[in-house]
């Protein structure tokens, strides 16, 4: 079978990523170690990926390529936009810092390879292709976490992330192989045939291992323990990027596997998702309550948000299924802007909670942005997090299952539980007296630009919601 020109067009975002990846690395090898040039190339590259995915989306480009193993649809392109957009802000945040380490091209190459893996991942329709793309996204992320040689925590966080990550990968792979063995093919359409009717024990074990592997990667409790250490050790830009882009892609591909590969086993996996969602929400919020380090606080908060997203997965049944897919799409976009912003503020202020005391006096712009991100993470109405939670709750209410009602109740309870630590940050910034530890402005114009832009998008997310929901309604899945 010849590869047509159409297939190249379908792969356009990935080809652009690959091109810029090689370019950035080669500039580092042969050119001068000019940070402005490499960072500019990487930022332009992520914008080009964003543009090509947006172009394909606007042109209504859809199709299935490479023997059905690679799909381009609205759903995949939507997540490519999220990945490329967050990569742009991560590159902005990484430019100055990676320049100071002297290894800017290598670091930016790692970011672009995570982008390549994530953009491939959301289009994959073949279980082994999914595994390959997933590893392409995670292996560079281990190196990103361990990249900061000036802090001992970085290598330690990298090692913990790596060990749990490779164990999770082999568990996931075992699940994939068992499902392949049961269904005789790794393609999701043929997996769906094997997962219709009653499940054999081997298929059940395969499904359990697959979901456990993904729970590790998504940092869902009880598989979340690597998250705080990895995010505390990682360079800020890496923590910000890894908590958003690959995670969005993992959620997308899990949704694709479950909906395309095993729709008839939905009663089984929605029950598992409901259990995971409840445990993850409570663990994330309860552990976040006692953190004094802002990185760890945000790490546990990202665990809690994984729980809210899994609640949408639990609602993928009955009348709420189509709406639950929308909820996942809206929530990932909302989560991406607010979480990226909150992490990037650490770059400007510091990771100790004390350095935020009285920030409104010394640094009003950054303090206001941080307050916006914190309020958005709680889910205060006009901000982005509110729409994510609203969609999840509406999907849960429409599902008509008692278990999902319990999950929705847990979402509401956890929103209240999360108020003390998010609003504690706002309170410290507004009411405490500035101390000597209060963060001073550290220059870094690019990071400042990224934080302000993200704060504006978080605030005005409500204006995006109508185009977003029409986009998600036409997303292809369901």
């Amino acid at each position: 079978m010849a590869v047509s020109g159409q297939a190249f067009l379908a792969l356009l975002p990935e080809l652009v990523t690959t091109g810029f990846l090689i370019l950035v690395l080669m500039v580092g090898v042969f050119g001068e170690r000019n940070v402005g040039l490499t960072a500019g190339l990487a930022a332009f590259g992520s914008l080009a990926v964003f543009g090509s995915a947006a172009g394909l989306l606007l042109a209504g480009f859809e199709g299935s390529y490479f023997g059905g193993g690679y799909a381009v649809d609205g759903f995949a392109l939507y997540f490519k936009l999220i990945v490329a957009g967050s990569a742009f802000f991560a590159v902005l945040a990484a430019a100055r810092w990676s320049g100071n380490t002297g290894d800017a091209p290598e670091y930016l190459t790692l970011i672009l390879s995570v982008v390549l893996g994530s953009t491939l991942l959301v289009s994959m329709r073949d279980l082994f292709g999914i595994f390959l793309a997933l590893e392409l996204a995670t292996i560079p992320s281990y190196a990103m976490v361990a990249f900061d040689r000036s802090r001992r925590e970085s290598a330690e966080g990298g090692m913990k992330y790596l060990i749990t990550g490779v164990i999770a990968s082999s568990v996931l792979l075992y699940g994939i192989v068992l499902i392949y063995g049961v269904s005789g093919s790794a393609e999701l359409s043929e997996v769906a045939n094997a997962f219709s009717g009653g499940l054999t024990p081997v298929a059940l074990i395969g499904l359990a291992l697959l979901i456990s592997g993904f729970a590790f990667k998504l940092s869902a409790a009880p598989f979340h323990f690597w998250t705080p250490d990895a995010y505390q050790g990682a360079p800020t830009s890496a923590a910000a990027f890894l908590s958003v882009a690959p995670k969005a892609a993992f959620f997308a591909v899990l949704l694709r596997i479950l909906l395309e590969g095993m729709p008839e086993a939905a009663p089984t996996w929605t029950a598992v998702m409901a259990f995971l969602a409840i445990v993850t929400m409570f663990v994330g919020n309860l552990f976040a309550l006692r953190q004094r380090n802002v990185r760890r606080l945000l790490a546990y908060s990202s665990v809690a948000h994984t729980g809210y997203l899994l609640a949408a997965f639990a609602a993928l049944q009955g009348g709420g299924a189509a709406f639950a897919v929308q909820a996942v799409l809206v929530y990932t976009a909302a989560y991406a802007v607010m979480n990226l912003g909150a992490f990037l503020v650490i770059d400007l202020v510091g990771e100790d909670a004390k350095s935020y005391n009285g920030l409104i006096r010394t640094n009003p712009g950054v303090a206001a942005s941080m307050a916006i991100f914190m309020a958005a993470l709680v889910g205060i109405p006009p901000l982005s997090g509110f729409f994510g939670k609203l969609w999840v709750i509406l999907a849960g209410v429409q599902s008509g299952s008692v278990l999902v009602y319990i999950v929705v109740g847990a979402v509401v309870v956890n929103t209240v539980l999360s108020v003390p630590y998010y609003f504690g940050m706002i309170r410290n910034m507004l009411l405490e007296e500035p101390t000597t530890e209060t963060g001073r402005s550290k220059g870094a114009g690019a990071v400042r630009f990224a934080v302000y832009t993200l704060a504006i998008v978080t605030t005005l997310f409500g204006l995006l919601i109508i185009p977003l929901s029409t986009l998600t309604r036409a997303s292809g899945l369901l």
């Binding site: 590893e135 361990a146 290598a155 060990i163 082999s170």
Partner: protein, 119 residues
């Protein structure tokens, strides 16, 4: 030519015949379980990597056995196995680099001694 007793012939035939699929799966599951056990109880990061390799090889054995027994899988399953081997090598390459970085700053690679972050 001496007469071979039928019991002995049956035994020899069973030895020569290809074992059924289940045997491969059991060996693969055992390898995976031994690797997982080792990865959980051992403290040295390098030994943990060796255990993870054992897990991946157990999975790979399962994969190749399935690929050989499935009617319409063709050569695809075996080519997947080659890709899995390549991925395992990439994981370990990054892993050893990170372990080396940890060793440089702390002079130990025991995972229970590398604990500066808590909570």
């Amino acid at each position: 030519m001496p007469q071979i007793p039928p019991q002995a012939r049956a035994f020899l035939d069973a030895l020569v015949a290809a074992p059924p699929l289940e045997w491969y799966l059991v060996v693969g599951a055992l390898l995976f379980a031994i690797g997982a056990w080792g990865a959980l109880v051992r403290r040295n990061a390098v030994v943990i990597f060796m255990c993870v390799e054992l897990m991946i090889n157990g999975v790979n054995l399962t994969l190749v056995a399935f690929a050989d027994h499935l009617p319409n899988a063709g050569g695809l399953g075996v080519s997947y196995a080659v890709l899995v081997i390549a991925i395992a090598a990439a994981e370990i390459a990054v892993g050893l680099a990170i372990v080396l970085a940890v060793f440089r700053s702390r002079r130990t690679v025991n995972v229970d001694e590398v604990t500066s972050m808590r909570g």
